[in-house]
């Protein structure tokens, strides 16, 4: 049996004509999955700096704040996300996010150590703004669990980065470096606030 080049081409190409749709990928309107959700919080510098600042501040405050803040923040943020998903308006979201970077940066810079409930309340207050902003920006979908998980895990990882960096607080030089970092976050907060007000 001899195969000509035309026969070979036909043998190779014809099966493609029988192609039927594959359903493994997401359907239109569904959430983009874990990776899309994971990339969402780290795509905005204002979110990134504020989340890292929460970790830095937690490291400065020490136990129990260092673990209380990362445990409570995702749940309160998700509540803000729920409000955003439901379309419940929250005034001044961008200003709230910018203010979070500013105030958390200042708290780190000045090594402010308020009572635990005050620190938790402040962080939770800002978490609602961050969650709401993410909630309104989330793509519409029916099966958003992986997206939500990615979104929450990314936020938690940003806190962890802040806590890890905050580990330098045990050394005098590290304490100065942390305060400088806090000052940097605060300055960025001023810039974000100026942008939000403009």
């Amino acid at each position: 049996m001899r195969f000509t080049s035309t026969t070979r081409c036909l043998v190779l190409v014809l099966p493609a004509a029988f192609a039927s749709p594959a359903f493994a990928h997401i359907q239109p309107g569904e959430a983009g999955g874990f990776l899309t959700g994971f990339l969402h919080p780290i795509s905005g510098l204002d979110h990134v700096l504020a989340m890292v600042a929460v970790g830095l501040w937690g490291a400065q405050l020490g136990a129990p704040a260092i673990w209380l803040l990362p445990v409570t923040f995702p749940i309160v943020m998700a509540f803000g996300g729920l409000l955003g998903l439901l379309g419940i308006p929250l005034p001044g979201v961008e200003i709230g996010i910018a203010a979070s970077a500013l105030l958390l940066g200042v708290a780190v810079m000045t090594e402010r150590k308020p009572p635990l409930y005050a620190a938790a309340a402040l962080v939770a207050f800002f978490a609602i703004f961050h969650g709401h902003a993410h909630g309104t920006e989330l793509p519409p979908g029916q099966s958003g669990l992986l997206y939500s998980l990615g979104f929450v895990v990314a936020t938690g990882c940003l806190h962890a980065v802040g806590i890890a960096i905050g580990g330098v607080h045990r050394w005098p030089v590290g304490q100065v470096a942390l305060r400088l970092a806090g000052g940097g976050v605060g300055l960025a907060g001023v810039f974000f606030l100026w942008q939000a007000m403009a």
Binding site: M1, R2, F3, R8, V11, L12, V13, L14, P15, A16, F18, A19, S20, P21, A22, F23, A24, H25, A31, W67, P70, V71, T72, P74, I75, M77, A78, F79, G81, L82, G84, L85, L86, G87, G135, P140, G141, Q142, S143, G144, L145, L146, S148, L149, F151, V152, V153, G156
Partner: protein, 205 residues
């Protein structure tokens, strides 16, 4: 030389045949994956690739492990058994529960882990029974509709047992200091995801 030409022709035919087979497309099933190894393995893969089932089961194992060995031993048997029984019922009725409730186990069990709730032995057992019944029934109904039926439910329940046993044992053995906090943070992430999923569910209506 003649032998080489014959070899080339044979190679061309083989390449053409293999390429044709590779180009022959088949449907991919995202919701119930057919492993080709039978319904039991289809069930195992379904559980492993369905976060709405996998995460609440692992979260309960996490909770039981945090509470200690006695709780863990109870949950690792009660949860799969309840899952199996409800799965059998689901295959008989083949009526799936509302999918919009999938946020509830995540929020409830994730919240329990995050809060490090000190529930009684009886309350923990009841939650394991209810969680197994809810998710098992949904699995059973879905498997009855998709085809694999009862044997897939058996595969799922066996995997629930293995997965929860591994997680509960790991957590029970490894929870000193910072690690316990890490488990609680994981619980808060699960609860937060459940809360967001509630938003998705309400938005979809």
């Amino acid at each position: 030389m003649k032998l080489g030409r014959s070899h080339n022709a044979s190679l061309t035919r083989t390449v053409a045949f293999v390429s044709a087979m590779a180009l022959w497309p088949l449907n991919a099933h995202a919701h119930l994956i057919s492993t080709g190894l039978g319904p039991v393995y289809d069930g195992i893969i379904h559980f492993a690739l369905t976060p709405e089932d996998l995460i609440p089961a692992l979260a309960l194992a996490l909770f039981a492990g945090l509470r200690g060995k006695d709780y863990a031993r109870r949950v690792i048997f009660v949860l799969p058994f309840s899952w199996l029984m409800a799965g059998f019922l689901g295959t008989l009725t083949a009526v799936p529960p509302p999918a919009s409730l999938s946020w509830l186990p995540l929020l409830l069990v994730g919240g329990m882990v995050a809060a490090d709730l000190r529930l009684s032995f009886g309350a923990t057992t009841t939650i394991a029974v209810l969680l197994g019944a809810f998710l098992g029934y949904a699995n059973g109904a879905a498997m009855a509709q998709a085809g694999p039926g009862l044997r897939a439910v058996l595969g799922i329940s066996a995997t629930v047992f293995v997965a929860t046993t591994l997680v509960a044992a790991f957590v029970a053995a490894w929870q000193s200091g910072w690690i316990r906090i890490a488990w609680r943070v994981a619980g808060s992430w699960i609860a937060a995801s459940g809360l967001l999923l509630l938003g998705w569910s309400l938005m979809a209506r």
